[in-house]
């Protein structure tokens, strides 16, 4: 979680960070969790001191009955509470240690962010230089890079497979894989972990999305950006948006060249008979469950978004808008939740899902003063952020929740609080090529599924599962009652929309379908009129 300070849930060790001088290694969230425990210990000592003072008061009240035994209590109790090594002094020591620990953790987080920013800048510079060298050079560099990666991977697997062979290499690898060497925080330890551990692949062979993925995406996007006419090297700071724009324009022009007609989006309410209404949500996890229900595999029509009206007992009316993620790998098909929308969202060009969300809100009758929470998964989260920005001033967007959405490059007005859920193993969140902004109104929670429940650990070992809704719902559940200030503030903002669960909930789905711009049907005409 990042809100100016690096912080994670106490019971969910997550991001591994290496930073600082002298080979220091630390888990930032472990340091912050330790600081929290020290604060709790100080609180316990404070309560302890209060109880001793209370007991001492009772002794004073009866001191006249037995002065000798009262005196035997009085002075030890005094020393216990106020002595130089007493409860108060030790509590102060713990509070001070907790504060220092937090400060150290924040320093490591800053160092980590600085290092990632430098690496990203280097990747962008190298990528644009390759792109500037021309398409042939770029293709050659990409081929060479891919071949080098495959070759390195093959070498690692080959070496690890030799570990149990009765050869000098096998013996050497067995010695190198000894526990003391694999734990060493030096080049020998790195080599030992890479080639001499159990199994054919090293532990954690996938790069963490927050670091490696974002840097790799930035480098690749820079290659694409560098292919543009003119010298690009040194002029591009954020290549992901321009690269996505280039891909979007190429795809759109290509589709037109292949004879695909221009399209427009038709939005219609989904009519369901006897469908069960989802209950009023109370938590982020409840809202994400509604997002999950909007996927076609869960029975929803493709291209559906949800709009839920909440009529509270005090007369207030609020709304929850839910948006699922990508459902089609195609470009410009009938389902707007496709790759074309992803490219449009990443490049900052108008997209159909944001249009669908705003149209659904208008049709549902959302009032300008009625608070709205917009939540989305993956592409839906990107659309939620864009809709919240675009509709700011038209509607009262009171909060945004995204799960597994690459929204680091998207802006959001400071009046709109947002919660961004990410998983360390989710490579999709790295597609923005940058970390989420570290600003007070946007709280990002990055969770390491490898340190979670059995289901989380199983998901962490898979390439796709860390991005899926079940894992994000578990993460939202894990955050409940975390006690972190950023989350409490966001929950308070969300609570103003959701209430206490006693609201009368009315849910309506709206379906967006792309149709040929040339075609028109009477129902669409009447809907527009």
């Amino acid at each position: 979680m990042r809100d100016g300070t690096a912080m994670r849930s106490d019971d969910a060790p997550a991001l591994v960070v290496i930073g600082g001088a002298g080979g220091t290694t630390a888990r930032i969230e472990a340091l912050v969790a330790a600081a929290q425990r020290l604060v709790r210990a100080a609180d316990s000592l404070d309560r302890c001191g209060s109880q001793v003072v209370r007991a001492a008061g009772a002794v004073e009240a009866t001191a006249t009955v037995c002065p000798a035994t009262a005196s035997a209590v009085r002075w030890p109790a005094q020393t216990l509470v106020h002595g130089p090594a007493g409860l108060r002094a030790t509590g102060a020591l713990l509070t001070d240690a907790a504060e220092r620990l937090r400060s150290v953790a924040a320093g490591y987080a800053r160092a980590d962010a600085d290092a990632a920013a430098r690496l990203r800048a280097l990747a962008v510079l190298g990528g644009t230089a390759v792109g500037d060298a021309g398409p042939l050079a770029a293709a050659g560099a990409l081929l060479l890079g891919t071949a080098a990666l495959l070759s390195a991977g093959r070498t690692v697997v080959h070496l690890r497979s030799l570990r149990h062979t009765p050869t000098p290499v096998g013996l050497g690898l067995t010695l190198l894989g000894g526990s003391s060497l694999t734990r060493a925080e030096n080049p020998v330890g790195m080599v030992a972990r890479l080639v001499a551990g159990p199994g054919l692949l090293p532990d954690g062979w996938l790069p963490p999305a927050a670091d490696g993925g974002e840097i790799a995406v930035s480098g690749l996007a820079a290659v694409v950006t560098g292919l543009a006419p003119g010298l690009q090297t040194g002029t591009v700071a954020d290549p992901v948006g321009p690269a996505a724009r280039a891909a979007y324009v190429t795809g759109t022009v290509g589709a037109a060249a292949l004879g695909r007609p221009r399209h427009r989006l038709v939005v219609a309410p989904q009519v369901t008979v006897g469908a069960e209404q989802p209950p009023a949500p109370r938590t982020t996890a409840d809202v994400l469950r509604q997002v999950q229900d909007l996927y076609p595999e869960n029975g929803a029509a493709p291209g559906s978004v949800g709009v839920q009206r909440l009529d509270h007992p005090d007369g207030r009316r609020t709304w929850v808008v839910t948006v699922p993620g990508t459902q089609s790998a195609g470009l410009h098909g009938s389902n707007p939740m496709d790759m074309a929308t992803n490219l449009a969202l990443a490049s900052g060009t108008p997209d159909d899902v944001t249009h669908l969300v705003s149209e659904a809100m208008l049709r549902a009758g959302v009032g300008p003063e009625e608070p709205v929470l917009i939540a989305g998964h993956s592409q839906g989260g990107m659309a939620a952020v864009r809709a919240a920005s675009g509709l700011h001033g038209v509607f009262t967007v009171a909060g945004v929740v995204t799960a597994g959405s690459p929204v680091g490059g998207m802006s959001l007005p400071a009046e709109i609080p947002a919660l961004h859920l990410e998983h360390l193993q989710d490579q999709v969140v790295a597609l923005d090529g940058r970390p989420n902004p570290d600003v007070t109104h946007r709280t990002t929670v990055v969770r390491d599924l490898g340190a979670g429940s059995a289901a989380d650990r199983a998901a962490a070992r898979s390439l796709g599962a860390p991005h899926l809704m079940p894992a994000y719902i578990r993460t939202a559940e894990a955050l409940e009652g975390s006690g972190h200030r950023s989350l409490e503030e966001f929950d308070a903002a969300m609570g103003r929309v959701l209430g206490d669960g006693s609201a009368d909930a009315t849910h309506q789905r709206y379906v967006g379908v792309r149709v040929s711009a040339a075609s028109d049907c009477p129902s669409a005409r009447s809907a527009r009129s």
């Binding site: 888990r27 709790r40 000592l45 309560r47 007991a55 009772a58 037995c66 030790t90």
Partner: protein, 82 residues
């Protein structure tokens, strides 16, 4: 329960609070961290754990003295009633 026995109960709560603090600091001291700052932190944590052990012993002593005082008060009151 008389006021002095309530004071003994308060010290039982205090003893539990100190034990909680000890567990928290013990857990906080086992953080995955290397380097010079980590060594300094472990020194502080070790000192605090030592202090907490001493404090728990002191609480037990105060509680013992308090129990003696409570018994003495009860006896004195019983004598006064007779």
């Amino acid at each position: 329960m008389s006021d002095v026995w309530a004071a003994v109960a308060a010290l039982d709560v205090a003893r539990e609070c100190a034990a909680q603090a000890h567990r928290q600091v013990m857990s906080a001291s086992q953080v995955e961290w290397t380097g010079a700052a980590a060594r300094a932190y472990r020194d502080v944590a070790g000192e605090v754990l030592g202090r907490l052990a001493w404090l728990r012993g002191e609480i037990a002593e105060v509680r013992g003295a308090l129990v003696r005082h409570a018994v003495a008060v009860e006896q004195a009151r019983a004598t006064a009633v007779r």
